[in-house]
Structure formats: C-alpha cells, structure tokens
Amino acid sequence: MAERHEHEDDVVARAVQRLPRELTPPSHVAASLSRSLSRRRSADAAWRIAIAASLVIAAFAAGRLTAPAAMAPASSGEEFALLLYGGPADGGDDRAAEYGAWARELARQGRSVSGERLSNEAYMAGRAANDPLPLQGFFIIQARDAREALELARRHPHARDGTVVVRQINTP
C-alpha cells in the first residue's frame, strides 16, 4: 500500500512538473511599473540637477577669493545636516526647483552645500526604531553656529509642509 502511494505521489509530481513554467502576465503590470520608474527617475534627476547647479555656483563662489567679505562669510563655519522629514512624498519638478533655489542662495553666500534625496525604501539593522515621519532627504550646509543653521532651515521650502531637523556634524 505504501509503495502504491509512493508511486501515485510520483505520478502527481510529474503531472505538476508538466505545467508550463511561464505564463504571460497582464500588460498593465509592466506599464504601471514603467510609469512608476519613469516618475521616480524624473524626480531624482530634477533634484540632482538642482543640487548640481547649486554646487557649480558654490564652486564658482569659492573661487572668488577676492569677493567682498559679505560674500564669503561661512568658509570657517561648522557643518550641519538638515534632515528633511515628512512633507510631500513626491514633490515633483517644482519642488526640486524650489530646493535648488534655496541651495543656490546658500551657495551665493559662499557656503558649501550638498544634498541628496533618499529612496522610500528603508532597511533597518539593530534595534527597532520608529520614525514618526519618513526621512525624505538631507542637505549638508555650512553655518556659523546652530542658530544660523536653524535660521537657514526655516527658510528651506521643505519647512512649509514638512519638518527640517538641524543636527550639527561632529568633526574631530
């Protein structure tokens, strides 16, 4: 009896193995994924272009060693991270342009400034942490002190509908 069951099991297994390994998925899945990928690339590109533009200006400003003192106030300043929480998940090109304008303004003042947009995917290692809002991106800026960094953060467009947390970067 056991042998018969074993034999029949093999027959069932072979029947399953004859099933086609590939089936055509509905076309809307590829279309939806492509749209999503395209939107994401567009938003990332706009963000990067805006930041890159500001860095070019910053490099230009840094080269103007003969600029009036008012133009180069922060070269000896501290570095701060501006952490952008919450706000619109996908602000699109307009939002990226605003962030870029904010960064360019800092660069015009002679401050170094850089930034990155973060992916929505987050992975956690170590102890669990519950961020009240998703971290969307960050800027690294120069400012004289925390008070000035906070003032610059208040003027960041993200502070309108999101939260900008200022943290000084510890340097040895």
């Binding site: 069932v12 390994r21 994924l33 492509s34």
Partner: protein, 179 residues
C-alpha cells in the same frame, strides 16, 4: 547571442532606464507571474498585484543581488514573500483544514494541464505552496522551510498530504493513462 542575466542586470544598474527595466522584466516576469498565479490559487488580479509588488521591491535592491543563486531564483523569492504576506489567517493553512472528501470525484481526465491547475488551486494555501515550490520550482525542503517560515518536517508532511489530496481531486485512472 542574447544578453545574459548579468548583462541585463548591469545595464539596469548602469542606466536605470525604462528600456533596461523592460528587458529584465520581459525575460523573468512570465515565470514570476506563473509562480504568483499558482501560489494565489489561480486568482489573476491577486497574482498581478503580487507581480507588481515583487518588482517594486526588487528594483531598489538590484545592487544587493550577489549571484549566489540564479537571478530567476532570486526574483522568485520576492514573489514567494509577497504571496506569503497575502495568505490570510495562519501563515500556512494546513491540509487538515480541508475535508478529505471535499474534492469532486466526477473528474475523469486530467489530460490537459487545466485539471492539474484547478486541483492545485483547490488545495489550502500551505500545501499548495509546498507542492509548487517542491515539485515545480525544485526547492528543497530546507529552502521551502526558509521561504515559508515553517520547519522542514511541516514542509515534508504538507507535500505528502498535499499530493494525496491532489491525487484525490484527479481521477486515478487518468493519472495512469500518462504512464
């Protein structure tokens, strides 16, 4: 010569374009969809959701692929995870939850694959998943246990009971026809 999986993956990592994505998708989505459709008991809308969800998770992680398994196996792992999350109730409803005599006995042939597909779809999700992963996808019991969050003993027993249930759902005489 068609590009290898590594070629396609490198192109996507390098370019990140829609075209590079579609080249990867076109090659592997049919196998992922077939797996999703069977795991979800033949529900096409659920399988499409699983496929979309799996790729949404895959794309930000392509750099994490280390080539320790084939790309297809790695991709199908995302499908299995997405399916597993969708199983309602206990993670794996076991075969005992289905009355043994619930299957229709009028089926006279499973000469076409649709009969087997229907038989699989009628099984509880846990036994169905084990049969699909073992008999169709070639997973070992250890791999099934890891993928489904069960122990190897459960995988073995579900395979055995699942096959028996599937056998009951199909006409034994028709099974012999294919010998």
């Amino acid at each position: 010569m068609p590009p290898t999986d590594t070629d396609l993956l490198d192109a996507f990592k390098r370019e990140g374009t829609e075209r590079a994505f579609l080249a990867l998708y076109d090659r592997h989505a049919p196998a992922m969809y077939a797996l999703a459709l069977r795991m979800m008991g033949g529900h096409e809308a659920d399988a499409a959701d699983v496929l979309q969800d799996a790729w949404t998770r895959v794309l930000p992680r392509v750099s994490a692929f280390r080539g320790e398994s084939s790309l297809r196996t790695w991709l199908c792992g995302f499908v299995v995870n997405c399916c597993r999350e969708r199983f309602r109730g206990p993670v794996l409803e076991t075969i005992e939850a289905t009355p043994e005599d619930a299957a229709p006995r009028t089926q006279r042939s499973f000469d076409n694959n649709m009969d087997v597909e229907r038989g699989l779809a009628s099984l509880p999700p846990g036994a169905r998943a084990v049969i699909i992963l073992h008999d169709l996808e070639g997973y070992t019991h250890r791999e099934i246990a890891a993928a489904l969050g069960i122990d190897e003993g459960t995988s073995k027993s579900q395979l055995s009971r699942g096959r028996a249930a599937l056998r009951r759902r199909l006409d034994p005489r028709a099974l012999e026809v294919r010998q």
